[in-house]
Amino acid sequence: MTDLAIDTVDLGKRYGSVWALQHCSIEVPVGRVSGLVGANGAGKTTLMRMLAGLSRPSAGTAHVAGRAPADNRDFLREIGYLAQEVPLYRRWNAEDHLALGAHMNPAWDDGLTRDRLRNLRIPLDRPMEALSGGMRAQVALALALGKRPQVLLLDEPVAALDPLARREFLSALAGAVADGGVTVLLSSHLLPDLERVCDHLILIADSQPVICAEIDDLLASHKLLTAPARDTTAIERDHQVLTCTRTPREVSLIAKLNGPVIDPAWRVDDIDLEEIVLAYLGQRSHQETGFALVEGGR
């Protein structure tokens, strides 16, 4: 069995009578970069905060880096967490933040953190308020990595950045993952930001996970099937049909295949990750308003 960095069983969080997240059972193997996607308000931040030990579950259990999340030192030293608002002191420079990081974290890697900031040409002597948003995000990432966490939880870290700064942030993150030893859960409402750097995907819709899988497996098992108009009973029996579009002459399906498609009348085409995600969302309610899959449309 694969070692799991993150593992939840029927995890849920209720605020009053409203479930912000429920029936959340997910597994992220060690070493993965898992993308957490869903509309704004779908429950991503709720999940992140419970995994970071900042919010207590109303139901179910969670394990992160082999421990139950809790607001204590033994747990917190194993994880890095970046909240949506980058947690830096405006008037402090990077040098001040490095000193604080070294003071707070027993496993602090000062050399590696300085190397990372130097490679990114980030000035160590200027206050955070004088740096660009992209540079601040890079400082926050370098600090989160400096404590050498087993699991890094990043909640919409690139949402406020321009496309170039986003790419640079994700490139720095990918480089850190290549150095080894860290599992990442990275949330965004922009799928294109995630699909390059992630090898695993969790999709939350209506406060529940509907996908939790390796991206390669998703691409291999989900196909577009097209055929001249026909009865779809047989294909729906053998495979999990997610969407079905009919015209008088043609029927096309997006399906999760459970094996080869036997009937040669069906033409089988690859689809990209965005189409897979949309197919799952389309199956559910049509209230997925805040979900921007592509920037500025196609």
Binding site: G31, R32, V33, R167, L170, S171, A172, L173, A174, G175, V177, A178, D179, P192, E195, R196, V197, C198, D199, I215, D216, L219, A220, D269, D270, I271, D272, L273, E274, E275
Partner: protein, 130 residues
Amino acid sequence: MISLRLDTKSGIPPYLQIAQQVRQALVAGILRPGDQLPTVKEVVTQLAINPNTVFKGYRELEHEGLVEGRPGAGTFVLRRPPGPAPGAHAALVRSLARWVDKARDAGLDDRSIEAMVRETLHAGGAEAIA
């Protein structure tokens, strides 16, 4: 050294894209036996992609016997895959480019051209169609 690309819109798993690009570079003679492939970290920071994608792509090429991972040193080319010599390969690419120009002049868009190529491959080449 080659530079790799990623097309996230293709529906082709990224690791297969990486393996295919290296294979093409070998067939085209851009990479030769003994050459080192870009390190995983180089590819990852250049493309902002997942390291496992690169590992998996390189492992695919190892299984085919085209490259060899040397612990601590990197991944190196062992041999070319079977196929036309680099000169013949370039000539085929040129004649295909001329054909694509012709198809576009005739009013076909890229999707139709792709479909036509796929169907021709399926049909089994010139003899089957003529």
